[in-house]
Symmetry: C2
Amino acid sequence: MKTYIEQHKERFIEELFSLLRIPSVSALPEHKADMQRCAERLCELLLEAGADRAEVSPSRGNPVVYAEKIIDPSAKTILIYGHYDVQPAEPLEKWHSDPFEPVIHDGAIWGRGANDDKGQLFMHLKAFEREVRLGLLHHNVKFIFEGEEEIGSPSLPEWIREHKDMLKADICLVSDTTMISESVPSINCGMRGLSYLEVKVTGPNKDLHSGHYGGAVANPITVLCEMIASLHDEDQRVAIPGFYDKVVELSDEDRALLSKAPFDLEEYKKFLDVAELRGEKGYSTLERTGIRPCLDVCGIWGGYTGTGAKTVLPSEAHAKISMRLVPNQLSSEITELFKRHFESIAPPEVKVEVKACEGGDGFLIPISSEAYKAGSRAMAEVYGIEPVPSRGGGSIAVLAEVQKILGIDPLLMGFGLERDTIHSPNESYLLKQLFAGMESLSLFYKYY
Amino acid sequence: MKTYIEQHKERFIEELFSLLRIPSVSALPEHKADMQRCAERLCELLLEAGADRAEVSPSRGNPVVYAEKIIDPSAKTILIYGHYDVQPAEPLEKWHSDPFEPVIHDGAIWGRGANDDKGQLFMHLKAFEREVRLGLLHHNVKFIFEGEEEIGSPSLPEWIREHKDMLKADICLVSDTTMISESVPSINCGMRGLSYLEVKVTGPNKDLHSGHYGGAVANPITVLCEMIASLHDEDQRVAIPGFYDKVVELSDEDRALLSKAPFDLEEYKKFLDVAELRGEKGYSTLERTGIRPCLDVCGIWGGYTGTGAKTVLPSEAHAKISMRLVPNQLSSEITELFKRHFESIAPPEVKVEVKACEGGDGFLIPISSEAYKAGSRAMAEVYGIEPVPSRGGGSIAVLAEVQKILGIDPLLMGFGLERDTIHSPNESYLLKQLFAGMESLSLFYKYY
């Protein structure tokens, strides 16, 4: 693959940039047309890469891109999953360059989606292209690229069920995760699930003058803060009754295995510029993000947030809350537990509304499979060191559904790095990783 | 005055509207030119009403409008204070009509500043005009209208000190407060002071993916919520050490007197649509807003606040916090106490910044003065019932300074009503109150 990359590098970059320039933000309805545009551009690239067919397939939500190349019905079939939607770019003022006008500097591509997931799915297009053009392809290959991963894949499970026969495969290959570090390759063998909710606390029925009413009327911001503060106990455990009931405790052996992953606490703190970390008592940092569930406030707003001083006792306060779940915790159950608990702790001075936004279950992947071994061998050859099996803290909600509906395991060969700050301003993707990813995926074809 | 109002009503409304149409929002720097425009329009109206001179006088901040009519150096001098700046109109989507395009319906004028304070200062212009035009004026009259009251009058004290001789007067007359109800006139004999601060809590140095880091890194929104929740104790007292040290406790007699003010708790709750009220244990609602200090969160923001779900563990969280103070609590001291306390309770996982925004001391006004008696007699004649001495929960920061620098007491003849929802969307001012105010002020000239 190295030589092939050398020969086509400039075209590769230009093709990837054509995807990054489309602001396919699934969370914001005003980008509807961009979703279609991005899906169509992907079809073009898939056909150019060598797919027999590629189509923009409608779903209940944003369209799904499907493509395939069938060389032999009796050969093994690789189903490649990726997503072409991206997170909102806000806060825009923190970007050093336009999030949707990618640039290259310091050895990386900078822009929204550079890694997550346009950069990573693009590696699959090019690894596939090489196999086809050099006449090396000995698998059937199918692609599904969805446009709703960042909003929890609300439509894809239904679409997969409807196209179950068409999607028949032996393995679902995914590049949408990170490696432990630049020098320590890893393969994710488990991901957390997600419950995402929005809450609204209403006090008085209108914004009030804080001088005339302050001290006499419950302030919904204060009440919301009290409620949020009560969601963790002193040991930083999530204080929602029943939250941990189904969490599988790992054996000491499994914990010992996980703790072998190289991790430098001081480097981690330095990277984040924090003096101290905070997490559930009794667990290490890697365990806290890998095998333990958690609750985070992703956004909060209420009252006057403009320049200067407005003395208002506001009518409403809002927050967005995400919970990361581990295997056996069901997203639908946790969402319901949260809702019931949050409503139950609301004091009588306010009204509370809880709205479920999205969710998905976590999952585990066996590391004994043929596919895992092929992936591991491929990455070992590229990085000169065997990849570590790791647990990712993030969620790809739909993969648990893929596992259930199609009865195949996902294999998570991700090449992102912490430094890429996906979901944040100044997302980037190292060219080195982009190309090492292409090489690894090309070798996966060889060894699988 | 009734006849005079009948004759000039339409012109009055048109003149007041010309003021309301100018978006003189002092908190937002983009309205700089509107401040100047509003000050100039006031000068025109003052000259037309009969002032000998009127000028837009520069200050360190927005200009001050000064006008005067001196009829006899040995006569008593009334100094009229008002402010031409208004609160921001946000949230705009909650207004039923354009905040800066006033309309009349349901017996009221609707628009930002309709009451606070353009509507109320306008009553003075017209009461003065009538006295001048009918040849009845037997006082010297001076006007100061400032453009920074809503941001805490940062420049006016200095301007007053510089023009101390010019401002010599016997009483400072102000209409910028509310009456107890439409049928229960009242005169404010005390106002609360203010300390307004902005706080910022910083966790990691960038927004993070809540899946990759959630559970391992302190979330600044959660930390801010915990810190805000800790600012009140179980008795709803402000839990800042030293906060109550200088608060004057009222005697049982004084409390009994205050409790005579008519107040319907059920009506109050119904007006606000809340099932329960919340406030400092051991005090009534009127005491909580009149004679007790308090702390409110006026605004909070952090993380993703747009549509849909963004799974972010944000870098920063912010809040705007106002404290209403009672006599003897010094704003500068309380601001410092808050700052010290808030910084001291920050856990090591975050960095905290506290910025003082504005402040002013509270004050009391003797009800035995000649001016108070004249005001009381005037309102009694208009409303058919003697006004109740009350304590306003709001703050007019600069009046304590006027008291100190010029050595004269303010007299607060305000005609606003709770229903006017000043500082909120759909601010209004009843025409009935506008005209009753003009009558009362005209009678004040007669009886003072």
